[in-house]
């Protein structure tokens, strides 16, 4: 069939017409490009009249392809594809070329702009002639959802979905859900008791009929794609039978082995070798820490087994793999605290009374190791002065360039708690105090009023090297006070380092499993930084909470709920359409060289051992085209981006590159 191409050049008011002679471009295209039967310019092509014009031409002229030279396809590709569709032309036979963002707006010379516009139109026309009709694929959405991470963001997402009546699998790596929020004493700026607001949510999740809780478990493998993911979860052996255990806690009470608790208590307190991280843990089923359990290390003891009234302790339990089918995944994997030892001049780990923010959270927590008393490492002395160092590992090119967003407010909270519970002077060493959210600035003003001292300067070092007699036996915090323009040395009893928020150590690895990437800093990349902060580039995988970037509790909760709403929308719709831009392998001519096998991060290429050919699993293919470019035999084709189409586009875009070519084209 002979090509009948329609060319539509938009003025976009004066946005395009200002620096491109659009009338000339349309006239020229109509005359010089083979196969063009209609070539028009119009004031606003995206207007309903403009669209109508295209639709009419398709019907009246029987167009086989449409080229729209207007703005970015990211803005209006859908608009024009839909117009074509309405007129009965397959939407994939419409090609947009970007005359506004890529030409008229970045250029002020009309002649140069017009020339470039012609090249882009020529390229699009050559391309569209070779485009093929494509049909989007539809798949059903499994109503079950996997939520990874049982911190506040994950809990919120879980509850939203479960309350809407959809099944949720909640996977948590630790023995209990709750996340970091369970470790906190108070929350800023309201000074709510963290546990009081968190634990009801935890038990709600624990008891919800639609929630399957998989604690002490890790996400192992993800396959499939939106609507139909298959996931493998490894349930680590607890050595306690979940069905038999009643959570009475007698095993913990009787366990003779005390261990420093580096997780929940941040090294500030102790737990037993069989333990539940904290009293309100959900589920209340303990786990045995085999590295420290006397039975596992020395083959003696078995006290827990002996005292258990339901015979739930099972030393032979093994890790177990659970396979689940879900339609969507919400990643809410949280964060870890910056390792303050990486800044040795701040003395953490070397100087006893230097604390991390997490240690201090436990120190002032009424349920913590000192029952909430703020005392030094000796366990009894109340500090007379406390320094709080901001931005430890944050806003520092040597470590993390970003702002961790919550530390300023947490530091103010700490300041308040110290002032409330002790008679100590509190010094805050800050770069900038950042309090942008609701009632945060008011909290700062309140602390100024409560007498917390603020010194604007990045701390150079925390040292016990005294220079003056009054410094002996103290920790000296040295900083340049940039408001006074002077070096300050403040001797204090206790120093709190406000460690920054960092991505989980395995965030990247975990992300790869479900096909999402990380930013330079290691936070999960959202689909759009402004307009789509909960979806990711992989359909069916959403992010919530700090794993997407530092944020406070309300923001994490909001994002958890937002992710759930997106998932609920997909479940309610029931089907999802998948773009038909995918790769395919001509199996007849594939020699099975296996170059492509390892190139797909989505595991969409499988090798058939029997036939000795490789094959694309269409549902998994995201259409990047890397395998197409790599295939040495040239037998992989990328739909809508095949070689023929791109070659034609190159030919077209270079229409004026050879002087001879210009002559030839002029004579067409």
């Amino acid at each position: 069939m002979a090509d009948k191409i329609g060319i539509y050049v938009c003025h976009c008011g004066s946005n395009i017409a200002g620096t491109i002679d659009v009338e000339e471009v349309a006239r020229w295209a109509g005359k010089n490009i083979e196969g063009v039967v209609v070539s028009r310019d119009y004031k606003f092509m995206c207007s309903s009249l403009g669209q109508q014009m295209i639709e009419d031409d398709i019907k009246n002229e029987g167009l086989t392809g449409v080229v729209v030279g207007a703005c970015s396809p990211h803005l209006h590709e859908k608009t024009f594809r839909n117009a074509c569709k309405r007129a009965g032309l397959n939407p994939f036979l419409c090609q947009m070329t970007n005359l506004r963002e890529h030409v008229s707006w970045v250029n002020s010379d009309k002649a140069a702009g017009t020339k470039k516009a012609k090249a882009l139109i020529f390229a699009a026309a050559e391309r569209v002639k070779r485009q093929k009709p494509l049909e989007p694929m539809e798949v059903e959405v499994n109503p079950a959802t996997l939520v990874v991470g049982g911190g506040i963001a994950g809990l919120q997402a879980t509850l939203e979905l479960a309350d809407a009546g959809y099944p949720v699998y909640l996977v948590e790596r630790e023995p209990s859900i709750g996340g970091h929020m369970a470790q906190f004493d108070k929350t800023f700026p309201t000074l709510d008791c963290s546990a009081c607001i968190l634990t009801p949510k935890m038990s709600e999740v624990g008891q919800h009929e639609n929630v399957t809780l998989l604690t002490y478990s890790e996400l192992e493998e993800v396959s499939g794609s939106v609507g139909n993911f298959k996931v493998k979860i490894r349930k680590k052996a607890r050595y306690v039978d979940e069905d038999k255990c009643t959570g009475c806690g007698i095993c913990i009470e009787k366990c003779p082995r005390k261990v420093i608790d580096n997780a929940f208590e941040a090294g500030m307190g102790y737990r037993k070798a069989i333990y539940s991280p904290f009293p309100q843990a959900v589920p209340r089923i303990p786990v045995i820490d085999t590295e420290n359990c006397t039975w596992f290390t020395r083959g003696k003891c078995r006290v827990c087994s002996k005292v258990c009234p339901t015979d739930a302790v099972d030393y032979d339990q093994k890790d177990e793999t659970v396979e689940l089918n879900v339609g969507n995944i919400i990643m809410a994997t949280g964060w870890k605290l910056f390792d303050c030892k990486r800044i040795p001049q701040y003395g953490f780990g070397r100087l006893a009374n230097v604390y991390t923010s997490m240690e201090f959270e436990r120190l002032c927590n009424a349920a913590g190791p000192t029952s909430g008393k703020i005392v030094m490492r000796d366990g009894k002395t109340e500090p007379k002065s406390v320094a709080i160092v901001h931005c430890v590992g944050s806003r520092d090119v040597n470590f993390n360039p970003y702002c961790s967003a919550v530390c300023c407010m947490a530091a103010l909270k700490f300041g308040h708690l110290v002032l409330e519970k002790t008679k100590a002077e509190v010094y805050s060493f800050y770069i900038d105090i950042r309090t942008p959210m609701k009632e945060y600035e008011e909290f700062y003003q309140r602390l100024l009023g409560e007498g917390m001292h603020f010194i604007r300067g990045k701390v150079a070092e925390v040292t016990d090297a005294a220079r003056r007699p009054e410094e002996h036996g103290k920790l000296i915090v040295q900083a340049e006070d940039t408001l006074l323009g002077k070096q300050r040395r403040i001797p204090v009893d206790m120093v709190i380092l406000m460690g920054g928020l960092e991505p989980q150590a395995d965030a990247k690895e975990l992300g790869l499993k479900c096909g999402i990437s990380c930013s330079m800093a290691g936070w999960y990349t959202e689909r759009h930084p402004k307009l789509d902060p909960v979806a990711t580039m992989t359909d069916g995988v959403f992010v919530a909470g700090v794993c997407q970037g530092p944020k406070d509790i309300p923001a994490a909760v909001a994002q958890g709920a937002a992710a759930a709403a997106r998932v609920a929308g997909m479940i309610a719709k029931g089907i999802v359409t998948i773009e038909p831009i995918v790769a395919s392998i001509d199996e007849e001519n594939c020699s099975g060289c296996r170059i492509c096998n390892d190139l797909c991060p989505f595991n969409a290429i499988e090798y058939d051992e029997e036939k000795k050919v490789s094959r694309v699993i269409t549902a998994l293919c995201k259409g990047c085209g890397t395998c197409v470019a790599a295939c040495p035999a040239g037998v992989i084709t990328g739909a809508h981006f095949n070689n023929e189409q791109i070659f034609a586009e190159i030919d077209g875009i270079l229409w004026d590159a050879n002087p001879q070519a210009e002559v030839e084209i002029a004579s067409v």
Binding site: E588, N589, C590, S591, G592, C593, R594, I595, N597, D598, L599, K612, T626, A629, A630, C631, P632, A633, G634, V635, N643, F647
Partner: protein, 327 residues
Amino acid sequence: MSDKPKGKLAFYWAASCGGCDISLLAIDEKILDVAEAFDIVLWPCATDGKVRDVEKMADGEIDVCLFNGGIRTSEQEYMAQLLRRKSKVLVAFGSCACEGCIPGLTNMNTRQEVFDTVYKEGSATMPENPQDVRPQPATKMPEGTLHLPIFYDTLRTLDQTVEVDYYLPGCPPEAENIWKAIVAILENKLPPKGSVIGLNTTVCDECPRTRGEKKIKKFYRTWEIIPDEETCLLEQGLLCCGIATRAGCGALCPAVNSPCIGCHGANDGVADFGARLMSALASVIDSDDPDEIRRIIEEGIPDPVGNFYRFSLAASQLRRKKKVVRG
């Protein structure tokens, strides 16, 4: 076959080594069937025949012309045009005609450089040339002017010179493939014009070695390692062109533990053989560090053109090395 009237066959030799002429004889006694089916009107290597006689023929009088060799001189170009005109079916026979082959590698130089090498620096054919005698396109003699064909800077493939109907790849084409092509011609069962007569899969398809997923940390040159005989040579770091090279040889080279060098050229629809190799090999380099990647490439592939375009330089997108503009 013998009932049909005899057809006319021409076999011509342009810029090539002569191996193709010999390969035609490798079909053994079947050459007699060929002789039975055809009158051989031109085969300078084996029979007597004059260009003048061909010139006198009517256009399209020759049924089939098997043309081997690339186009390096004006005479070869003239012959290609002449034979195109006189032949119903023109077959690019062998790697040289199809894609330039080894003579095409001269496209890394210019005529000047080639002549300097041959006539000035000395060669086996011209060990000494103190007067720096060079071939001249025209020499005036008392009887008139004698012309030598001019030697081009750039060797062209046959289809860059005239329209080609069929391609028979290989350096030289394998006897059975030649026979298959002849049978197809005799039985008039030819594929659509412009086709390559042969398979459209790559050497791996015929290679018995075991293949796994590929990751390459270091490329080895053939003299550096003795490869394992069971495993894919590429996986052992040898630059084997089999992944990109059209099948049909039965994986001759890998069968003797030597990497494929790519003489059968690319599959259908491939616009640049070397680019296929470059892209495939680069994709499986096992490093994400640009410096390391560069090191792996530079150390392992010191002669990229020789490795990627050994047979296909003249048919590649760029066809030749950039000429230095003088003055």
